[in-house]
Amino acid sequence: MSASLTPADARFLAMPAATLRDAIAANEAPPTAGVAASLRRAAEVGAGRDGLNSILWSDADAARGEAEALADRLAPAVGERAGRGTGRELLGVPVAIKDNIATLRLPTTCGSRILEGYVSPYEATVVARLRAAGAVVVAKTNMDEFAMGSSTENSAYGPALNPVDRTRVPGGSSGGSAAAVAAGIVRIALGSETGGSVRQPAAFCGIVGVKPTYGRVSRYGLVAFASSLDQVGVFGKTVDDAALAMEIIAGSDTLDATSADLDVPPYRDAALADVPVRPLRAAAGALAPVAAGEAPLAGMVVGRPKEYFPESLDPRVREKCDRALERLRALGAEVRDVSLPHTDLAIPVYYILAPAEASSNLARFDGVRYGLRLGGDGLKAMYEATRSRGFGPEVTRRILLGTYVLSAGYYDAYYRKAQQVRTLVTQDFQDVFASGVHVLFTPTTPTTAFPLGAKSDPYEMYLSDIFTATANLGGVPALSLPIGAVDGLPVGGQIIAPHFAEFDMFKAAFALERALGGEARA
């Protein structure tokens, strides 16, 4: 297939996901239009190993075949809606999936040598739901090995590059998915979050990234890293793309005992100006719903936690945040200074708990049931040879760290202590939201995307997650959206909401995205 884009390709790639699916459902575009354009765009930007390295595995012929097979889902009557509950919500929309989410046919390697060539015999619930809505998986995307990293430099298949500036990292661990969206290959991609692995790369690449509430989205088929923190998240070119994808993948699943049996609100409706800000259950005094025609965020209280704006914050990042807060005020929100006093403990807590859980979860990669097996003299030698050569340096480091903090004599000092401090971090969120705050606004990251190879000290890399790991520890939903640029590099703003209050989070994000307009890139 030619690598050059046609004018029609450019038109389809520029369409929001909902617009593309409407065009296909209404027979105004063939079911293959979006997928063909996506594949040609991937070739044009060099998404593979020799270029951006955002895509690890793909099968263009299979993707085109899947798109052609969607013809029987076309609306029987022109103009019939393709919206929620129709099975055509993402009709013909190309999507990319992080390589730690199980897919049939394409490999699932978690960016690791130990799973090289592994193809899952079942599919993740989130992928099955996307396919059921008519989406077509065009690629599995690069990632830090087993999602351990903040730059996608820890992939066994080489680092992914940031499409905004190819000398810089796209963030991580879901850097390949973020880069695929930022490069215009897809409008929607799935990632996974344990400490910020969707929001941080979204911020670095200038797109939208969403981590839902713990329990909002099924993890069946997500390869486990740290089970008390892991969530599947979504990337979108815009808030609407991300909200559409989240509507599809959210909701209870009997195959995941941690998934919550709660209704999923129509998140895209949060864009409508006349949808009221929800009165807070825990707030002192109910807030009056906003009337149609009023400022869209009237009645919403946005907290500005001082711990996320330290003296050391890059003043240029602070300036973009101040501008975004000013826009939120202009939209009718009340911006209130608040405090989350245990924020600075989040990274030490996270880097005890996550490796501890990883050391247990990754015990299954032993050369017995799947993946790599290397020979040795007997069973123990096989385990050690397989694991020491199958895992890369960061995964090895974290397994050792996790084993250490769980081992006899150190458990109370490290693991139990970290679990106690996690309670305090979680309590911070509960207290601030109970005080009458609907959402929090913070920078997503302290800096813009850093150059490849810039962070060789492990702990310095861990600090990339300083503003994002808190939401994982507390289990609350959070979203990053572009709020400006510094020296041409994107700056992300983060909106954090109470448990299962994604609707309010999307409402603030839709309004802010619209108010910033072109400023989001400047």
């Binding site: 049939l104 592994y118 015999p121 079942y122 713990y214 329990g215 923190l229 009997t254 195959l255 941690t258 049996d261 245990h342 403990l345 990274i347 030490p348 807590v349 880097y351 005890i352 050391s359 050369g367 017995v368 049931r369 799947y370 993946g371 790599l372 097996r373 020979g375 040795g376 003299d377 007997g378 069973l379 123990k380 030698a381 096989m382 385990y383 050690e384 694991r387 895992f391 090895t396 480091r397 397994i399 760290l401 250490y404 081992s407 490290y414 202590k417 970290a418 679990q419 106690q420 401090v421 996690r422 309670t423 305090l424 979680t426 492990p458 702990y459 861990y462 507390g474 289990g475 448990h499």
Partner: protein, 120 residues
């Protein structure tokens, strides 16, 4: 509570990770470099704080232990490194190489005394 080389070899054995000798020194320094940042937690008064045991209020609902088997698109033999007769095939334990002799390795392997592991 600095990690020593002996500690590192012990936890590597627990984690079934073979470490080349040249990696031991650097890894000890890396782990100690990371752990020194964790010392801040010891200053936090948690005397009356319970450890976190769950995330949120809704997760982990109980359900009946029934339901259809999850169909697999491919047989286990298609992705397991080695299978025979429905069992995962693994190398014989070194301690069993010569039956009747005394094991020369009393490590924690010994609970696994079969060379066939039943598939779930």
């Amino acid at each position: 509570m600095a990690v020593t080389e002996q500690d590192l070899r012990h936890i590597a054995a627990l984690a079934r990770l073979g470490l080349p000798a040249e990696r031991v020194g650097p890894l000890v320094r890396e782990l100690n470099g990371i752990l020194e940042h964790m010392a801040v937690l010891q200053k936090v008064d948690t005397a009356t704080v319970d450890p976190a045991v769950s995330v949120g209020a809704v997760a982990m609902p109980l359900r009946s232990d029934e339901g259809p088997q999850i169909p697999l698109a491919r047989a286990r033999a298609a992705f397991a490194p080695a299978m025979t007769d429905g069992f995962f095939l693994v190398p014989r334990l070194a301690t069993h190489a010569a039956l009747g002799t005394s094991p020369d390795d009393s490590s924690v392997d010994d609970e696994l005394d079969a060379d066939l592991v039943e598939a779930e």
